[in-house]
Symmetry: C2
Subunit: 198 residues, 2 copies
DNA sequence: TGTACATCAGTGAACGCGCGTTCACTGATGTAC
DNA sequence: TGTACATCAGTGAACGCGCGTTCACTGATGTAC
């Protein structure tokens, strides 16, 4: 990571700086406050310097969203590794919700911005997250025919929690516990399904 | 519903017209396309005529979001009434997801716009929806201590499905079936929990 | 090692745009007498 | 029933703003010889 050589004409790593600044703006002031000009301003650079690194505003957004998915995946993977045996899946969900709460603006951009519908870069990064979930589901749901619906259901559950918490539609002083309680309910159901299956 | 008297200076019911037009813009062109000026334009009225009916742009948004919650509640109530015995809860979820898919822009405004955080009008309308869910939960989950977590979990699940479907993160050619499958999974869990409780 | 030159990453001024909002106004409506 | 007048719901022009983006430019960097 090349430190910006102060005093020089060139910035050092303006692309990276723009991405970081955009993240900060998103989380602190929300999507409406995120403009290319504001990013340039905070980077201490002229209004169109970012155009050397991003074709247009959308390209910046795509970059930030992609970064977000990669970070989310890393956070989830770390939580899964650190989890107590048997609680890996719950840990994934908790990390997911935690990330959303720590980066509400970014999370919103990642999942709700129109640019995410067309950018393959974002889709690829998002696929990393879902793959992580799918792998864990494969471990805890032996019945293959149940896996897809279980994965979709739990992902939706956790995503719904994240979104509702972010938007103050749900309040909890202990989101980790909330994820645990709700996900455990579904986990029990999966055992019930297996029992029924026998 | 007073029809606009064509040819007269006065519009008839500009307030209502603005709300309807705003809804349409939201669903057809998204939140970014929704401006007071565009609403006025489509209503065939001068740019500041809406100010006779809304203090500012936020007031219009609050009005639209409130309308949305009332409509959502009505749609859910109707679905609940029409449902086959035992499937009322699933019907509520299906109606919820269906409404989201039919009105993606509006749904997004209702749940994700900052103005929703401060407007008591919106909170009140949203409470109507959650009350509907809570009432049904009370019927199907006899164990009172389980009700809250069950209500939160299922709401999140259904909300997550809605959001992910709207944003193309999940694809399904039969959303009703998807809701049924995922919610049923949780319903089975509730029976499992009851069984365990005995 | 030194120099010429292509390329890269910035600058600063300017563009047109649509927006929210305000102003002074006027035509339409409805009510008191 | 007719009229004076207050009020309501519009008009049209204008404001300042920040935005995305483009232009012609220049200083810094790195490479070929």
């Amino acid at each position: 990571m090349p430190e910006p050589r102060t005093g020089t004409y060139h910035h050092g790593d303006l692309r990276r700086a723009c991405l970081d600044i955009a993240r900060t703006i998103l989380d602190e002031d929300g999507e409406d406050a995120l403009s290319l000009r504001e990013v340039a301003r905070r980077a201490g650079v002229s209004a169109n310097a970012p155009y050397r690194h991003f074709r247009d505003k959308d390209a910046l957004l795509v970059g930030v969203a992609t970064l977000g998915f990669e970070e989310l995946q890393a956070a989830m993977a770390a939580a899964e590794t650190a989890a107590a045996p048997g609680l890996e899946f719950v840990a994934l969900g908790q990390a997911y919700v935690r990330y959303a709460q720590e980066h509400p603006g970014l999370f919103h951009l990642m999942f709700s911005h129109p640019c995410g519908r067309s950018a393959p870069e974002i889709s690829a990064a998002a696929a990393g997250v879902t793959a992580l979930l799918a792998a864990r589901v494969a471990v805890i749901v032996p019945d293959e025919s149940q896996r897809q619906i279980f994965a979709t259901g739990t992902w939706s559950l956790v995503h719904g929690l994240a979104v509702l918490l972010i938007n103050d539609k749900l309040t909890s002083d202990d989101p980790d516990q909330l994820v645990l309680d709700t996900v455990i309910t579904v986990l029990q159901s999966s055992r019930a399904v297996q029992a029924v299956g026998k």
